[in-house]
């Protein structure tokens, strides 16, 4: 089959690799109809996630048709059309029982590596470095899906791929980020990053009762999308000082909740950003927390800072004094996707949220390298790339 393989910084190639096969009785093989490039794939593409190896198959947002099942699979059957959640969860451990699927205790075969990096191990993730299991990803024609009875959501045939594909990651991720904000009617929510997760976080904040949503970015097309599609007020941080603007916009108090939908490769302006950039490039810090710092400093007293953005390891100069002295709450985590798929599918069916609004590019799988390139460099006004392996 064809698959998108990582080969180094800015180097992904679509290559011919062996077809996946069932390795465990709970596995299924899915023939992929649609798969997307995620913003977090760019951290791999840029080489900031350790333990990537040449030949790793990328991709953790995918859906398709079940073509083969293991001997112990009972819920899924061949022919089912499924969306596959990006965290791999066993469904039986202490954490799965509490619906904390992305910190499943059993699904990461490289737990010992993750423990060295993070103290304890989270769940395995498709196509996301060997720290999270080294599982082959879904930017390919086929993928092996472990614990097939637990994760994949069967979707009705009348819904187009584009409507349901993002249930695999970014729609639940944006929603969980907004849900974490303890939104009450009248709340003001600020969102750093108007990419796909940021857009869904803004729309979810409104769904959950927010009165005002503020989107922060620097690319005009993303700010336009935030204004037009997600009904947000916008700040272009290259033109406007964000803390000062937020103070003005919120009567001096700050937003009730701040969402960092940017993560470890934040961009910024000024001397502090140059300092972070240099340290990051020299691998003296693993994350560049520019957006997170701003969120922590601008959030109102007693507010919530919610972090769906991906961080890898160690960040410098986190203003923890602001967190402590101003009673802030930080909520974060890889998304517990399995928890949100069904309720969000229902919201999509009811038309409360339209996931297709963020898609700017459809491509054949062969074009994946170009997809990564334009997505990274924000060319052709790229916001979201969907790949079609069967075309």
């Amino acid at each position: 089959m064809k698959a998108t393989c990582w080969h180094g910084v800015n180097d992904v190639r679509v290559e011919q690799v062996p077809d996946p096969r069932i390795l465990n009785p709970g596995d299924a093989i899915v023939k992929i109809s649609s798969t997307a490039i995620c913003g977090s794939d760019l951290h791999l593409y840029d080489g900031y996630v350790p333990t990537m190896e040449a030949g790793d198959i990328l991709g953790h947002e995918f859906m398709g048709e079940v073509v083969e099942i293991g001997s112990k699979v009972s819920r899924l059957k061949v022919g089912d059309r499924v969306v596959v959640p990006f965290p791999i969860a066993c469904g039986h451990c202490f954490f799965c029982e509490q619906k904390l699927f992305s910190v499943c205790e059993n699904s990461n075969p490289n737990a010992h590596l993750a423990e060295k990096m993070w103290g304890h191990s989270p769940a395995g993730i498709f196509g996301y470095s060997h720290l999270t299991g080294g599982y082959a990803g879904g930017q390919a024609e086929y993928a092996r899906v472990p614990y097939a009875d637990v994760g994949p959501l069967v979707v009705p045939p009348d819904l187009a791929d584009d409507k349901v594909l993002f249930l695999s990651d970014i729609l639940p991720t944006g929603y969980m980020a907004a849900e974490a904000c303890d939104i009450v009617p009248g709340a003001v929510v600020a969102v750093w990053g108007c990419g796909p997760v940021g857009q869904f976080a803004m729309q979810s904040a409104y769904l959950l009762g927010a009165e005002r949503v503020i989107g922060i970015d620097r690319f005009p097309e993303r700010l336009d999308m935030a204004r037009d599609r997600s009904r947000a007020e916008t700040i272009n941080y290259e033109l406007v000082d964000v803390p000062d603007a937020l103070r003005q916009m919120t009567g001096g108090r700050g937003p009730d909740a701040c969402i960092d939908a940017v993560g470890m490769e934040a961009h910024g302006v000024g001397v502090a950003y140059a300092y972070d950039r240099i340290k990051h490039v020299m691998r003296m810090e693993s994350d560049r927390p520019t957006a997170l710092r701003e969120a922590l400093m601008t959030c109102r007293n007693g507010g919530v800072v919610s972090v769906p953005g991906v961080y890898g390891g160690l960040s410098d100069k986190i203003p923890f004094g602001a967190v402590m002295n101003r009673s802030l709450t930080i909520r974060t985590g890889q998304t517990h996707v399995q928890r949100y798929m069904q309720p969000l599918l229902e919201r999509v069916v009811r038309g409360e949220i339209d996931p297709t609004c963020i898609i700017t590019h459809h491509m054949a799988l062969d074009e994946a390298p170009r997809g990564y390139d334009i997505f990274k460099n924000k060319q052709e006004q790229c916001v979201k790339v969907v790949l079609h392996p069967q075309h």
Binding site: V17, L23, N24, G55, C90, G124, G133, Y135, Y147
Partner: protein, 345 residues
């Protein structure tokens, strides 16, 4: 089950490792037998070494002190310092005081750190001397290097060793280790015990074990992969068997691997399944060298036990072991194929 009425199993919950002397004996019911061929490390063994270090430092101080008092000029010449007899005699007095203090209380952290403070003063003095006429810079540099070494030694002597409860070296046996590992499994203790009691199923979750054949109810024959492709074989005997709670084993004399140990199954707090605690004493085939080789090849017993426990948990909770072995991937680099840290074989 009657187990719930037995209190002793409760006292072995997490926490004892902070107080090594109160670590529970692995055997219960007041019966304490010698722990296989491997001697349990005496809590005093470490202390004796500790006293020796303190005494050695004390005599070193006293020696240095006397030399400074009696021959300050010779010391100054040798170390490259200018001729400062009075200052050097003062240092001699300080060293003597330090030495006598340390001799009276060899394990005292305060006296040990007083040596570090002295070293810091001396290093400062060397720095000052470097800018003073009459000093010999090359000798000063050599003295400073030696003094830095002594300072490092003093600092390490002044710092208390912290225990790593998961792996300890056993006294008296080169390379022998005690491994303590535990894991929480979301299944009843009884079920975990029953799976563990069936020794022939061990190769399903123990990576290095190739086969286990039961000889009779208590004895079994084991074959394992050793370091660097070697094969190891031994007989093992179950020495204690408390259904649903405890299993103990030890290897028979004459096998390739000396090992003994226990696994206990304790109800986890709050009804959250079972804590499985493994304690294993292990002597690698070629002593210390063997242990080192094993570590280099990623077959260090502590890590092995941890991985095996994790696989046991996966099997108990999900009926399968998480793996990526045999999955598809693109062409691998040479580095990934050589050091396949986490990369599927």
């Amino acid at each position: 089950m009657e187990k719930s009425t037995q209190q002793p199993s409760r006292r072995t919950r997490a926490g004892y490792w902070q107080y090594p002397d109160t670590a529970p004996e692995i055997r219960e019911h007041g019966r304490l037998k010698p722990y296989g061929e491997l001697t349990r490390p005496s809590p005093l063994a470490g202390t004796r070494g500790n006293v020796q270090v303190g005494t050695a430092l004390a005599w070193f101080s006293i020696g240095v002190g006397i030399a400074h008092l009696l021959a300050p000029r010779a010391i100054a010449r040798a170390s490259g310092l200018p001729n400062w007899p009075l200052l050097l005699r003062a240092i001699g007095v300080r060293e003597l005081a330090c030495g006598i203090g340390l001799l009276s209380r060899p394990t005292s952290g305060a006296w040990r750190w007083s040596r570090v403070a002295g070293d810091a003063m001396d290093l400062t003095l060397l720095g000052v001397a470097a800018f003073t006429p009459g000093s010999r810079p090359r000798r000063l540099a050599a003295t400073a290097t030696a003094l830095a070494g002594v300072t490092a030694l003093d600092m390490s002597a002044g710092t208390q060793r912290r225990r790593t409860p998961s792996r300890q070296m056993l006294a008296g046996w080169p390379g022998a280790q005690r491994v303590n590992k535990s894991i929480t499994i979301n299944r009843p203790a009884d079920e975990c015990y029953r799976f563990w009691r069936h020794v022939e199923s061990f190769p399903t979750f123990m990576d290095n074990i190739e086969s286990v054949k039961a000889i009779d109810e208590r004895r079994s024959h084991w074959r394992a992969k050793g370091p660097a492709g070697s094969k190891l074989e031994w007989d093992s005997e179950i020495t204690e068997d408390m259904p649903g709670q405890l299993l103990e084993w030890r290897s028979a004399p004459g096998g390739d691997v000396d090992n003994s140990g226990s696994v206990r199954f304790v109800d986890a707090a709050g009804g959250r399944g079972t804590v499985v605690q493994v304690q294993m004493d292990y002597r690698p085939p070629a002593g210390k060298a063997g242990a080192l080789i094993a570590k280099v090849f990623g077959e260090d017993p502590a890590q092995q036990v941890e991985k095996d426990l994790r696989r046991f948990k996966q099997l108990m909770e999900t009926g399968e072991i998480a793996t990526t072995e045999g999955q598809s991937h693109g062409p691998r680099s040479l580095k990934a194929r050589l050091f396949n840290k986490g990369v599927e074989k």
